[in-house]
């Protein structure tokens, strides 16, 4: 079985390689600080103990007040997988460091996250909307997509016009 690396182990390894790089940890996840994200991941990739060579999955997630970018990175030789996350708190212009210089496989997946969430990946060689067309109004996978300015409305065009406001769920806002 592929071993899921615990958050504490990931945090210890990240702190050992790049001091001060961990924002917080949960049981199976390690949240990295956005300023040193690329440096930390590059170090984890080269570190013989962690050996995180294969960026399996990269995706964004919207939690109303902030965005998360989730990285699942695994090692073939050690047969373990790590879940790393980074948070972007600026709702107007969320931005995260790009991992393309470290993993070429991040190229398309970061473009997908940019396309659907509007998360800007700084340092991406060619950011563009990979699935939708340039000029598409809004960022479709955001939770408040339907109330965005210029956002599309469900149904046919004649029914659009009245924006359906979506209030954030109470439980998420702390």
């Amino acid at each position: 079985m592929t071993r899921q690396i615990s958050g504490a182990e990931l945090a210890a390894a990240s702190e050992r390689l790049v001091p001060g790089s961990v924002a917080k940890t949960t049981e199976w996840t390690c949240f990295l600080k956005p300023e040193t994200l690329r440096e930390t991941v590059a170090a984890l990739r080269l570190d013989p103990e962690m050996d995180l060579v294969h960026l399996t999955n990269l995706c964004g997630a919207d939690y109303w007040d902030h965005f998360e970018v989730v990285y699942h990175i695994q090692s073939f030789d050690k047969n373990h997988i790590a879940t790393l996350k980074v948070e972007a708190w600026d709702r107007e212009k969320p931005s995260v460091q790009s991992l393309v210089p470290v993993y070429h496989g991040a190229w398309m997946q970061e473009n997908e996250a940019y396309d659907l969430f509007g998360i800007v990946f700084e340092g991406h060689p060619k950011p563009y909307r990979i699935l939708l067309w340039e000029g598409f109004p809004g960022w479709p996978l955001r939770k408040d997509f339907l109330s965005m300015p210029g956002g599309l409305q469900p149904g046919l065009n004649e029914f659009s016009g009245v924006a359906r406001r979506i209030a954030p769920p109470v439980s998420v806002v702390e």
């Binding site: 592929t2 060579v53 399996t56 997630a61 190229w107 479709p140």
Partner: protein, 369 residues
């Protein structure tokens, strides 16, 4: 080309409506004569925003969506999704359900690889004969799917906690017949293609991927294994009881189009082996556990993956204790396997680019989702 003769680079458009792009997929290539200088992929023609739609539907209602992403491997897609939800909710599947899942996933791999090999041979110039042969065999598997689940391609057969229906009494003899027919058919196909001079000339040494590049580009599945990396989720991270079956990982050496073809053929043989073992040891008992229809998994997240025919097929599901997933993400192997397409096509000819694209075996429904 001598120094006196100069040619100007120009943009050539391949697709989106073109048989060799395997769907509505477009590549803009910049060519100088026959040589490709740059390639730009344009996708999204089939984008239906399944990830957004899934946030509005219950966990059970989302299973048919997963059919519609990779429509050539719907069983594998169903399996990946229900595994993620089961991991999230902590549901155990009965032994019989697991064995049926394995049989279905492997039959689906046979059907999908039939399509991949046939279409690839078609791209290399073996016009129509191999594709008709493989379609003939694939149709028998689709008949079994239709008998069991009611649909040929969009099966919607897996359920959270098991499978939708138990097997019919005709199932076992039909699968036994396929198991008897398939190995000779694979031999025949290999004899016809791998000894063919044109086929070899078109595929050997074309689109070479180094292991480092394959790893760094996040590739998976037969494309990764053809580059010499023995990484198979069924072995490395077994699910649904794959650890009980005896099979081997097919690995290539050179990372070229021919190796990808050979790896797929070998995987078909191994799949037959797995199906035979699973069918011999098919346990009795229930095929599914009772799961509440309005399932509300505890808050948290799960990432589950299966080895689909095209590679690592992952589902990332986040729950907020509601009846619908808070976030639903598919890790599409076809999409991510295209990461290296630009790098391996640069420097080749346009005709080779078609072969390379065919050897990666993309399904556009999965790329665009």
């Amino acid at each position: 080309m001598s120094d006196q003769v100069k040619s100007e680079p120009f943009i050539l458009n391949i697709g989106p409506q073109h048989p060799s792009t395997h769907g509505v997929f477009r590549v803009k290539v910049k060519v100088d004569g026959e040589r490709i200088l740059d390639a730009e992929m344009v996708m999204g023609y089939l984008h239906r925003s399944i990830e957004k739609l899934a946030e509005e539907r219950t966990y059970t209602q989302n299973i048919p969506f997963t059919d519609r992403t990779d429509y050539l491997a719907s069983m594998s897609n169903n399996l990946g999704y229900v595994l993620a939800v089961e991991k999230l909710a902590g549901i155990d599947v009965p032994e019989r359900g697991q064995a049926i899942r394995v049989i279905m996933a492997e039959l689906q791999r046979l059907a999908s690889h039939c399509m991949a090999v046939g279409a690839f041979a078609n791209d290399t110039g073996a016009w129509q004969t191999p594709v008709m042969w493989t379609f003939r065999e694939r149709e028998k598997i689709l008949d079994i799917f239709e008998m069991t689940s009611g649909a040929r391609l969009t099966c919607n057969y897996m359920r959270i906690g098991g499978v939708a229906f138990d097997l019919r009494p005709e199932f076992e003899p039909m699968v036994r017949k396929i198991l008897a027919d398939f190995p000779p058919f694979i031999e025949q196909l290999e004899d016809m293609l791998s000894g063919n001079e044109i086929f070899r000339a078109r595929s050997i040494g074309v689109g070479v991927l180094s292991p480092e590049m394959a790893t760094n580009s996040s590739l998976s599945g037969p494309v990764l294994r053809s580059a010499g990396i023995a990484w198979d989720i069924r072995k490395a991270d077994p699910y649904s009881g794959y650890e009980k079956y005896d099979f081997q990982i097919a690995v290539g050496y050179n990372g070229d189009c021919y190796d990808r073809f050979i790896v797929r053929l070998e995987e078909m043989r191994q799949s037959c082996k797995i199906i035979r073992q699973a069918l011999d040891g098919l346990p009795g008992g229930p095929h599914s556990t009772q799961v509440p229809l309005a399932l509300r998994p505890p808050a948290g997240e799960a990432y589950a993956r299966v080895e689909g025919p095209r590679g690592e097929l992952g589902y990332y599901v986040v729950s907020d204790e509601g009846p619908t997933p808070y976030r639903f993400h598919i890790r599409p192997p076809s999409f991510i396997n295209l990461s290296a397409l630009r790098e391996i096509t640069i420097g080749s000819t346009v005709a080779d680019a078609i072969v390379i694209l065919g050897s990666i075996d993309i399904v556009v429904g999965e790329i665009d989702r």
